[in-house]
């Protein structure tokens, strides 16, 4: 049972006014800027951060075990205008070049609106949480101060400034915790109820201990992590954390508490639930990927609605499983609470504990934010992209299913590669079908590069269809076009990072305080303070590329029903006047049906994509290693809007394939067929990305259904699957499906001895099924 106070808090979050704002951040930033604006970047950063932390309200709520929250108000019109203007003043008048100097990466108008160019971070990374709780903030201060005192970087003003900024930041955070200790002590003095007095006294004492010292218990560890999270996310805007392997680094604390009789298993669960709730509570309402949502537009916060990730289970080394009692508790908490934040990544490995695997499947069955990844493909894959053996077992993920090695690298370096795009270029002599006049001369524009969403239009390799005699020839041309594009992307990115690197000298961001290497080197991760530097290349529109190549193979080289140029002409005409050809290509085998004719191209596309990536890494131009994922996030609509008709029958401008899913509605043979198709992808070369799977609750109901679901997942992992996330759809979804059948084409329902696609069932049967979901 979730403690009552947490239930109330969860409920309040859903009902919260979306305009509620932690407005102190804005006022205090302005004040801090006035006080320290003339100092060097890093000193100013540390002092402004410290100023904000030292002056914001201390909020201690009733009954809670962990503390740390911000005070919110509904800003007046004037306050809103002031806040918007504050940022707008800087961004609005900046040239593209200046913007590039400030930030060299992904931004959206909404994102910029909330952030000051001299005080921001992209987040999307993992701190050294284990060091933090084992050593405490005092150790960090001592380390940075020690390097300063030793005079290691005597002549280097950038580095001295960096370290002084770091010390100011650490001290600010430490002081912030001390203020909670003081406030709790004060409230304890006022409290009349004995339990309340005891709770507050306990909070005061534990906050006091972790002000500088290491954590001495599970509660202190979670409390310390929470304070750092609150300061980083709510004040500094460092969102989308990976908390890395919490079941590992918290285990010694948990075991010691149990042994000392200081904590029961149930109390540990409550602590975890309190921690989850706090993560959820600071999340933005709304959906940052939909800029038309006015909750997003009007929000002044620097937090995102993206969840923080927690990594559980997995291997500790070649043969030892990391699954322990805490792993169970973390999953149980997610199952009971059903929140969007945090998001759990469960690392499967061969031989994983069966009871744990069932608990995971059970939580997924009830639509918890839980996903599974496969160590047996991820570890070999990461090793191919220059991750060292000694680090690889620690791997995790952040926000968009992007892999990382916690605290050994900075955050958010990604770009999208539209995989079907080179098919279009290959069949059309290197020219795009749509808007060829928009092709930029030479490289991408600065704007294209900055947002990391390079979907063209631009030119490919000049070629002629008469030279193509076989499918292998066509695949070679596909490879040449993909390789050209990826290298162009790289060139653009590397150019930007040269500028960014130059401009980042002497700068600091909050994450630099908690990464391995930055303090020793006295420089931020961007200029080289950490071990790993990588860019994720997200291969998007996967199924569109696979189905298009499969269609070309079948139509031109197997059935020999059409020539390549007939196909090209039909695509150029968006299939207008080519209805018969269009019907035919639509009926050809599609990825997602366990059909080798299509699935062989899932392997080929992946191999070509990864070959190019590995070549690029061998050539190595700059700091970065490139890593492939198969992932679109939610941008498959936008990517499709730039592409002409494709050989699989998709019309011009329509969305391309989502993540690792088959084309919308293409999978007709059920979930095992879909998983078998996905297993055709050589995942030991791919480092992340989601496969969304939908099931109806009736297929996996009761204990037997759970066993079957756990088996399904395990068999998929054994077959070389990489990732899986599940939607079990019930009543509400069925109603939506009834109203928007096009979006639910693949929803398969089983009714005792038979099953049917829901939207193909007639209204009577649909109504009855909807009715059943109400009753049972």
């Amino acid at each position: 049972m979730i403690p009552n106070y947490i239930q109330k808090s969860m409920k309040a979050w859903f009902e919260k006014n979306p305009r509620a704002t932690f407005y102190e951040r804005i006022d205090l930033f302005q004040e801090g800027w006035k006080l320290f604006g003339s100092e060097s970047y890093a000193r100013r950063y540390g002092k402004v951060l410290s100023h904000m932390l030292n002056n914001m309200s201390v909020v201690i709520r009733d009954e809670e075990l962990l503390v740390g929250a911000v005070k919110e108000i509904i800003p007046s019109k004037e306050q809103r205008a002031f806040a918007e203007n504050l940022v707008e003043e800087r961004w609005g008048t900046a040239t593209e070049e200046q913007k590039q100097e400030w930030i060299s990466f992904y931004y959206s108008p909404g994102w910029i609106k909330r952030r000051h160019p001299d005080f921001f971070t992209f987040g999307h990374l993992a701190f050294n949480w284990d060091t933090l709780i084992e050593k405490g903030l005092g150790w960090y201060i001592g380390k940075a101060q020690g390097i300063l005192d030793a005079g290691t970087y005597k002549e280097d003003e950038d580095r001295i400034s960096f370290l002084e900024g770091a010390v100011a930041g650490y001290e600010g955070i430490s002081r912030f915790i001390a203020r909670y200790a003081e406030e709790a002590a004060r409230l304890a003095g006022e409290a009349t109820l004995p339990e309340e007095k005891a709770r507050l006294t306990e909070i005061a004492a534990l906050c006091e201990r972790i002000t500088l010292g290491p954590a001495g218990s599970l509660r202190e560890a979670l409390q310390l992590i929470w304070f750092i999270t609150l300061a980083s996310q709510k004040v500094a805007g460092c969102g989308v954390f990976c908390f890395s392997r919490m079941d590992q680094y918290l285990l010694p604390f948990y075991e010691k508490d149990l042994a000392d009789g200081k904590l029961t298993r149930e109390e540990a669960l409550y602590l975890i639930e309190d921690f989850y709730n706090k993560n959820n509570d600071i999340m933005d309402p709304g959906d940052h990927m939909s800029q038309e949502d006015d909750k997003v537009i009007n929000n002044l916060e620097v937090t995102y609605d993206d969840p923080n990730y927690i990594i559980l289970g997995g291997l500790l080394d070649k043969e030892t499983s990391g699954v322990n009692d805490l792993s169970f508790l973390f999953v149980q908490a997610a199952h009971e609470m059903g929140l969007r934040n945090p998001w759990l990544v469960i690392r499967y490995h061969d031989g994983i504990d069966n009871e744990f695997w069932k608990a995971v499947a059970d939580s997924m069955r009830s639509n918890s934010s839980v996903t599974i990844y496969n160590d047996d493909t991820m570890i070999p894959a990461l090793l191919k992209y220059e991750v060292e053996e000694e680090d690889v077992y620690e791997y995790g993920f952040f926000g968009c299913n992007d892999p990382l090695i916690p605290c050994e690298e900075g955050g958010l370096r990604q770009m999208w590669v539209t995989l079907p795009w080179p098919v279009e270029l290959a069949i059309n002599g290197g020219q795009p079908f749509m808007n060829p006049q928009d092709i930029p001369e030479g490289n991408f524009t600065l704007k294209d590069r900055l947002i990391g969403l390079m979907y063209g239009p631009f030119k490919g390799v000049e070629s002629s269809l008469t030279d193509i005699k076989s499918m292998d020839d066509f695949l070679e041309l596909y490879r040449a076009n993909l390789s050209l594009l990826m290298r162009q992307y790289r060139e653009g990115m590397e150019q930007d990072y040269q500028v960014e690197k130059k401009c980042s000298r002497g700068k600091i961001r909050i994450e630099d305080l908690f990464l391995n290497g930055t303090i020793d080197a006295a420089e931020c991760w961007i200029t080289g303070g950490v071990k790993y530097h990588k860019i994720i290349m997200q291969g998007s529109g996967f199924s569109t590329a696979v189905d298009s190549l499969a269609a070309i193979n079948k139509a031109v080289f197997v059935d020999k029903r059409y020539t390549l140029s007939e196909l090209r002409d039909a695509m150029a005409a968006n299939y207008e006047g080519y209805e018969e050809l269009h019907s035919y290509v639509k009926s050809l085998p599609k990825y997602g049906n366990d059909d080798r004719e299509a699935d062989q191209f899932a392997a080929k596309v992946t191999d070509i994509f990864c070959d190019v990536m590995e070549e690029m890494n061998r050539e190595r131009k700059g700091l970065y290693t490139y890593m492939p994922t198969i992932s679109t996030d939610r941008d498959f609509t936008m990517q499709g809007s730039k592409m002409g008709a494709s050989a699989d029958g998709r019309l011009a401008g329509e969305a391309v394939g989502e993540n690792q899913s088959p084309a919308a509605g293409a999978d007709q043979n059920g979930i095992t067929a879909l998983l078998n198709s996905a297993s055709a992808i050589p995942f030991d070369r791919i480092t992340g990305g989601p496969l969304n799977v939908m099931l109806h609750p009736s297929t996996v109901e009761n204990e037997e259904g759970l066993e079957k679901l756990a088996s399904l997942f395990r068999a998929f992992m054994k077959k070389g699957g990489m990732q899986l996330q599940l939607n079990v759809v019930g009543h509400d979804e069925l109603i939506k499906a009834q109203q928007n059948p096009d979006q639910y084409k693949t929803l398969c329902v089983r009714v005792t001895g038979y099953s049917a696609y829901f939207v193909q069932m007639g209204k009577v049967a649909q109504d009855e099924m909807i009715h059943r979901t109400v009753n049972f």
Partner: protein, 301 residues
């Protein structure tokens, strides 16, 4: 020899233990009022036409090599006797208004298809189920398929109403691990009305199965429809029929659902099915309690 299959259901979780695939064999000798698979009754191929999806464009008619389709603005007509079920019209229809029920497979083709999910069967203790229609009617084909699957080490199940001559049952016994037997009613008159045959043969076959020295495991499934076969007065006779059956490991009560109604309307050559109702909750509970009290292994419904 070929078999006629009208559907392959993968990740089938209601037709026996573990993760299974169910192959539905076309053709049935019963005609249950509540049939979920009216497209399974005829033992030959059929054309499916979804009137609501049809825009009367005539593409199907132009594609038909037999000229057996006549389409105008308001009507759509099919000459069944000249149709060769080539499927050209289905492919030509741009609106997914047409479909073919029934596909030919050799035993090898079918089992190859079914073996694609063997990892899932293996991990979950599942396998393959043959359903219908009446699976036992395509007896030779069924036997071949079951034998091939047994050779491959796959758990096999046959879903049947047992309303067939005993030799058809006897033939597949050695290659079947599990019989899923549908017991559709007790009252002779009602049986004739609801199902189209008298229950005599079924009872005899059950009697024979009970006496087998070596029997596959048996699960009995009892579909209940309001007013047709859910009279609790029949429970004692049901108990008499099922009691003392060593191989019987599970009894399942299935409440009626209306899936078949819309599907029968989609069949060009099929009749319309009448809408029936599920039994009241209390009746379901009564069946459950009384059968459980008689020490039958009833699963919670």
């Amino acid at each position: 020899m070929n078999g006629l299959i009208f559907n392959l259901q993968r990740f089938s979780t209601k037709d026996g233990p573990g993760i299974r695939s169910t192959a539905f064999l076309k053709g049935c000798n019963l005609n249950c009022l509540w049939c979920h698979n009216p497209e399974s009754i005829n033992g030959h191929k059929e054309l499916k036409y979804i009137e609501s999806a049809c825009v009367h464009c005539g593409a199907c008619a132009s594609a038909c090599p037999q000229n057996c389709l006549v389409v105008d603005e308001t009507s759509w007509h099919w000459e069944e006797h000249s149709c060769i079920f080539c499927g050209d019209c289905v492919q030509a229809c741009p609106h997914d208004a047409l479909g073919l029920w029934g596909e030919d497979y050799t035993p090898r083709q079918l089992t190859d298809e079914l073996l694609k999910d063997r990892e899932y069967y293996g991990d979950s203790g599942g396998g393959v189920t043959f359903s219908g229609g009446e699976a036992l009617l395509q007896n030779e084909f069924l036997f071949e398929c079951l034998s091939l699957l047994k050779d491959a080490g796959i758990h096999t199940a046959v879903d049947t109403a047992l309303s067939v001559e005993w030799p058809l049952i006897e033939k597949v016994l050695p290659v079947t691990d599990l019989f899923l037997i549908d017991v559709k009613g007790m009252d002779t008159e009602a049986h004739l009305k609801n199902i189209g045959v008298e229950p005599q043969l079924i009872r005899e076959n059950i009697g024979r199965m009970k006496t087998l020295a070596e029997s596959p495991e048996v699960h009995v499934r009892i579909p209940l429809v309001k007013g047709l076969n859910d009279d609790p007065a029949l429970i004692p006779e049901m108990i008499k029929l099922l009691r003392g059956w060593k191989a019987l490991k599970r009894v399942e009560l299935l409440s009626y659902h209306s899936l078949g109604v819309d599907k029968s309307a989609q069949l060009v050559a099929g009749g319309e099915q009448e809408l029936l109702e599920a039994p009241d909750r209390e009746i379901m509970d009564e069946f459950f309690l009384k059968l459980t009290a008689a020490e039958l292994p009833v699963a919670k419904h």
